[in-house]
């Protein structure tokens, strides 16, 4: 048994959300640069250059790159040899979110009730937590700050197996077409294929946080990711939706076994500020 005090988790969560909001990953910066080099639309190229300049300023001055600092979503992977001490894990994670958002000049964007009482909780809590128990004695924390301009453009459908590759492709491309300029293109498109209704959505969310340089291990899915990116960029939506060849930077697919009668497809749209950070304790 390895003991970890939950106060360490609080501090790590706080650090991760500051990092995610201030510093855009090198993979995203590289993808923006190569998109700018190839973008045929002058206005589109100008937008991509503005985004890079903005992200550099955020990192240099410790400012959040976007004012929508998001709903805080965490994937916690906990080794079954770990004994967590010092209090509730869930509370400790929320305390980390509270610390980052109140001390780090991040916007608080959470309301306590979705329908009848949309009152801001004032500290961006509660966050959304997904916990998995795995072998080992480590704790891995993935922190995602999810803006809702893009979250609101996400969709899920339960296709019939006969829909096949074509049905899956059409649904994903149509989801991006419908999002138009609203989700702040260029996008990172996370796709969850298979599993159950809720697992598809979880995989899609997880997919938005994969490094942009990652390719699917299965060559059939790697080819599908490339084909989807080509189809999405052929829509012409372009940077900020002003028209151009850069509508998405990457499509990531995560799959899971599913039921004989089903083909769940979830598409989680993420904007170019694909903010996430991770750490292992």
């Amino acid at each position: 048994m390895r003991e970890i005090n939950v106060s360490d988790i609080t501090q790590t969560v706080a650090d991760l959300f500051l990092q995610a909001n201030y510093v855009i990953g090198e993979d995203v910066m590289d993808a923006l640069q190569s998109a700018a080099n190839q973008e045929p639309s002058p206005l589109g190229k100008h937008v991509l250059e503005q985004l890079m300049e903005n992200n550099r300023a955020g990192a240099d001055e410790s400012l959040c790159v976007c004012q929508d600092t998001g709903l805080s979503v965490l994937f916690l992977t906990i080794g079954q040899e770990v004994h967590l001490t010092g209090g509730s894990l869930e509370d400790a994670v929320n305390a980390g979110v509270r610390k980052a958002y109140t001390e780090g000049y991040l916007r608080k964007s959470v309301v306590i009730d979705p329908l009848f009482h949309r009152k801001n909780t004032g500290d961006n809590t509660p966050c959304v937590q997904h916990v998995r128990i795995v072998p080992g004695d480590k704790v891995h924390i993935l922190a995602i700050a999810k803006g809702f301009g893009s979250e609101n453009m996400s969709r899920l459908t339960m296709l019939v197996p006969a829909a096949g590759v074509e049905g899956v492709t059409d649904f994903i491309v149509e989801t991006v077409r419908l999002s138009g300029p609203n989700a702040c293109p260029p996008l990172v498109v996370g796709v969850g294929l298979g599993g159950s209704f809720e697992l598809a959505a979880l995989m899609a969310k997880r997919a938005t946080s994969l490094p942009l340089t990652r390719k699917h291990k299965d060559p059939r899915y790697a080819a599908l990711e490339d084909e989807l990116l080509k189809r999405i960029n052929a829509l012409g939506i372009g940077p900020a939706g002003y028209g151009g060849a850069t509508t998405a930077l990457k499509v990531h697919i995560i799959t899971a076994p599913t039921h004989i009668a089903g083909l769940p497809v979830a598409v989680n749209i993420c904007c170019h500020v694909a903010r996430h950070a991770e750490a292992t304790l």
């Binding site: 503005q50 903005n54 300023a57 976007c66 004012q67 609203n182 012409g236 900020a240």
Partner: protein, 185 residues
């Protein structure tokens, strides 16, 4: 190159601006998001006066992040405009001349913009730090209880934007993608 535009917008400037124009806006704007719009419309329904005169105004759809000491505002990029669509035609009828946001507008908003003569500017979503550098002062005009969603007045200098929908109803979100769409895939 960019056109330098002085706010408040005049009828003539509104007529001149064309979808696709890059502009730098200087002057002052008011801010508001869904929650503030809802309250303004509720006042109109009750026949009560608004806390701000909309005649000739430009509104920026924004809820900034908190300012660090010494800053007028924190990072302050645009929010999605479609959430304001249900309220916008009534504000245009009261003389609102400009809107700054991101994303599509509904057909009714575009019709009202043509009828009353108004412009919709796009600011680049996610370029919140750059935009905040063009905001020089900020004060709360109404609804301080809404926090970042309160109605503020910002004075701005060289605020970077693009004309997305002009007063003739031309829409860059339609025209731009048409130019770059590939149909042979």
């Amino acid at each position: 190159m960019e056109k330098h535009i002085q706010l408040p917008l005049t009828e003539e400037t509104v007529r001149d601006l064309q979808a696709g124009d890059r502009v730098l806006l200087t002057g002052s704007v008011i801010t508001g998001r869904d929650a503030a719009h809802k309250r303004l419309i509720a006042l109109l329904e009750e026949g009560k006066p608004l806390p701000v005169n909309l005649l000739g105004e430009t509104i920026y759809y924004v809820g900034p992040a908190p300012a660090r000491p010494g800053q007028a505002v924190g990072p302050a990029g645009p929010t999605s405009s479609y959430r304001m669509d249900a309220y916008t035609p009534r504000l245009l009828a009261l003389g609102l001349k400009g809107m700054i946001g991101k994303g599509e507008r509904g057909a009714e908003v575009i019709e009202a913009m043509k009828e009353y003569g108004a412009v919709y500017f796009g600011a680049v979503g996610g370029s919140a730090v750059l935009i905040s550098r063009s905001i020089e002062t900020s004060e709360v005009l109404a609804y301080p209880d809404l926090g970042p969603e309160a109605i503020h007045r910002f004075t701005i200098k060289d605020f970077p934007a693009v004309v997305v929908i002009d007063s003739q109803g031309n829409d860059l979100y339609q025209q731009g993608p048409q130019l770059y769409r590939k149909t042979d895939l």
